[in-house]
Subunit: 244 residues, 2 copies
């Protein structure tokens, strides 16, 4: 039996805080990793696309505006789906789905996309298996997760040395499993996995890896947001592109 | 022009210290990552094999004993090659080679192997390009390097917290380039690269990735060597298997 899925997004306090993040207010342009992630995407024209963890539907609308033929957005949060539907027209289908129990029709999609959702998933092997089956041959799976360096530590944080230089404190990198953090709400549970595990799960299913990015801010982004410079010491996001 | 290659192995003090390491005295069985690395190797029978940074020739002799047709060991250190030749018979060819200037015949090898040598290389893109050309279609490239988490920090080390638990201090992960360390000798220069860079260099050349390991000790190894447990907090080695 699967554990009950975590749906922190329907918690009122969490939802309110999440709705104030730049990426929630401004959409894709408010996500600093979007330029790198979008560079991994195929041309959208005519594609059948599904977004795992679609949130407010920003990517679904982007895909549709970029010419995708059919777009399906899946999310566990009713509140987020309600907002997504409000902001979209009927050409995008949104469906409440617990990704832990993901079911998709076989060979039905040209692109499976997921942004910062899969590090919450316990049954990741099952999700990847379903994604592989759901893609047409040559179809793409493009996703981002929190970087394993970010999810590994038992107590995530920076340690300043005598000179004030900060270092990221890493432990338990090879010890995979649940980590409790206090991001926007108390006791949010993430699933830590190594970079190798993400990649080997894909390779073991027959995916062909196309590109891997350990994202950090560009020089231009640091000029605009000097406080982001620290993210180069420890990348916050892992981006992966694979082909069935 | 290439920078002059670093040949720390012909430094007397370094060579003496290196010769006392378990992996130098006991060979492959003295290298804790060998079980994981060897599991990535193809069946050796009849293969043409080259080892980049062959050291004392332990892997070359293993390959030959496992049935490899031809084995070539390359190393920059005359001292190591002299020892390798002493311990081998004439069926293994050893050649002094600066990997920074690596040249190999096209489509001549079934397996290119390298253990803990490539993190010293400045011109890694050139080396990978040469390796790709030197492999037959379907040929394998299997290598280990020091893990980027290990090579990244400006001052590598562990920070004990109040409870005595140690954390690895990471900075400069995304800042690739030279790092000076004092491993067995003063001022040994390693080239830090991210996991993504190693993989994308391979993918960009058309290699198909087969497996990635972020190595840490097994339960049995920790039972035999309790002091290795810390290596699970921060993996020391990255192992990669790719196919042309």
């Amino acid at each position: 039996m699967s554990p009950p899925a975590q749906n922190i997004y329907d918690n009122d306090a969490f939802f309110a805080a999440y709705g104030k993040l730049r990426r929630s207010v401004e959409g894709l342009g408010g996500a600093p990793e979007w330029p790198a992630l979008s560079a991994m995407l195929p041309t959208m024209e005519g594609l059948n696309v599904v977004d795992l963890g679609c949130g407010f539907g920003w990517f679904c609308r982007f895909a549709r505006e970029a010419g995708a033929a059919q777009v399906l957005g899946l999310d566990i949060s009713e509140k987020m789906l309600a907002r997504a539907r409000e902001a979209s027209d009927a050409s995008i289908a949104y469906r409440r789905t617990d990704l832990e129990e993901l079911e998709l029709p076989a060979a039905a999609f040209d692109l499976v996309y997921s942004s910062l959702a899969l590090h919450y998933i316990v049954n990741l092997g099952d999700v990847f298996t379903t994604v592989h089956r759901a893609l047409v041959p040559g179809g793409r799976f493009v996703f981002s997760v929190e970087h394993p360096l970010y999810t590994a530590p038992s107590r995530p944080g920076w340690h300043p040395d005598d000179s004030g230089r900060k270092r990221w404190l890493v432990d338990r990198y090879l010890e995979e499993g649940a980590r409790a953090t206090n991001w926007l709400a108390e006791g949010v549970i993430k699933q830590h996995r190594t970079v190798a595990t993400y990649l080997n799960l894909l390779l073991g299913l027959g995916f062909r890896l196309r590109r891997v990015e350990e994202w950090g801010p560009s020089d231009a982004q640091i000029e605009a947001h000097p406080e982001w410079a620290l993210e180069r010491d420890r990348p916050p996001f892992l981006l992966v592109s694979a082909e069935r």
